[in-house]
Amino acid sequence: MWVDLIITLVKIFFILAITVGFFAPVLTWVERKQSALMQDRIGANRADIMGFTALGLFHIIADALKMFTKEDFIPDGANKVLHTLSPIIALVPALVTFAVVPFGGQYTLFDKEVNLVISDLDVGLLFVFAIASLATYGYVIAGWSSNNNWSLLGSMRTASQMISYEVTMGLTIIGVLMVYGTMKLTEIGAAQEDFLRWGFFLQPLGFFMFLTASIAENKRIPFDAPEAESELVAGYFTEYSGLKFGMFFMAEFVEMVTIGAIMTILFFGAWHIPFLTTATLLSWFDFLGTTGSNLVVMLIHVGVFFAKVVFFIYLQMIIRWTLPRFRYDQIMKLGWKILLPLSLANIFVTGLVILALN
């Protein structure tokens, strides 16, 4: 009982440390540097400690300091309670989603089965979408409570965009569910041990549609109409400063990690290495004993999982710095007229193939 509790706490701590403590701050640096390199520039390099810049890594500290010490501004006529609450509502779902995201398989450590997921829900995938759609409230309330026309416009765009693309997202994963026959994220991950049964090969169309829809959900370029700088100042977070703005900012980066993790689990073989089953890996490290070999394999799997997540984050960043923003009507057209019929067709074809193979 106590051991279980400690293991769960360790897992929670690990996930929080790696998302909030590592990915979110480092990604702000990565985005600056990556975009700079892509555009033949050098990128952030001014923040230094004793003349030592560490490739601009100190900008993370500078950012954090700036956000903590900045004036927390609430505009006249704004609803103070909701104005304060909305960044929290926006950030929490992004973090809570990780409760059901497995970052490794099952391992036997000290005669105890350790499942590398905080909570192995039977409806894991549904839980992810249920919680992720809650974030919409945060953005809508943020725009409404700011008492600013641009913010309200931005939040309206957010609401319509997120709802439109959630439909596509939900219908896309039905194809995955039909293939693997389960909603447990751990089981979907475990089912992809064979390289040729990766979601990417079984659901190629679903992969691209899910990627598109999830970038639209995260409101990043090319789907950043809700926060379009050139039209709406900064969209729904125009009136936010200091740490509240930081929370919106962090929510975006944590959501990037979430999308990367979900994509990895659903389509890119989760923690598995191509052509290398867990049993083979375990037999390689047999000389270390049960616990030792399991531990090594666990570390390898977690490393592989996060390497894949990093790949997807890189993909999102490349897309962000490559494509121009869609016009608002183009976003709606893409969502309702192209992706929705395609995802329905995807379900139909998947069903036909499954029926034919049985």
């Binding site: 390199l37 033949d40 520039r41 050098i42 490349i318 897309i319 710095w321 490559t322």
Partner: protein, 179 residues
């Protein structure tokens, strides 16, 4: 647009291929530079205040006065640059010798250029018959106080030796002595 371009996805992949190529090209040109194994990186931009690029000789920075080898300004205070200046940023008060024969007959007692007003057009340089005023390559003249941007003769004087390239350039450019 062809059907292939309209389907959008191939064009996205093409664009991402381009940006990824630039990214990795620069990344691997960047790392050896910081490890110290390569002398120069393959990135075009520079760390500005620490590293500076040589401006082309045609670049028009702040105008300066030429100072002869003996320390005297080459300017004869004819006032042509003052007239040519479209922004009226030059102010000259001439001085001349008092009868004793010496090398110089006229010189400016006061020669002020207000860089807060100057538009860096180079008309003064073109108007000057004595090769006395030149556009330098110095563009770092931003200040917090406007009054400090009014440069006096002493601040403007620059040895002719430093301006040699620009002098050559203006001779070719305006063909001053080829009337």
């Amino acid at each position: 647009m062809t059907w292939w371009e309209k389907s959008y996805l191939p064009e996205i992949i093409k664009g991402m291929w381009l940006t990824s190529r630039r990214f990795f090209h620069n990344l691997f040109g960047f790392i050896p530079f910081f490890l110290g194994t390569a002398k120069d990186r393959r990135i075009m931009t520079v760390y500005y205040p620490e590293e500076q690029v040589q401006y082309p000789i045609a670049y028009r920075g702040r105008p300066v006065l030429a100072q002869n080898e003996d320390g005297h300004p080459a300017c004869v205070a004819c006032g042509l640059c003052e007239i040519a200046c479209p922004a009226y940023c030059i102010h000259i008060e001439p001085g001349h010798n008092t009868g004793k024969q010496n090398q110089y007959e006229r010189w400016p007692d006061v020669f002020n250029i207000d860089y807060a007003i100057c538009i860096f057009c180079g008309n003064c340089e073109e108007a000057c018959p004595e090769e006395a005023i030149f556009m330098s390559d110095d563009c770092e003249i931003s200040m917090l106080d406007r009054k400090k941007m009014l440069y006096t003769k002493e601040q403007l004087l620059t040895p002719v030796a430093d301006l040699q390239k620009r002098i050559e350039f203006t001779r070719n450019m305006y063909a001053k002595w080829n009337y």
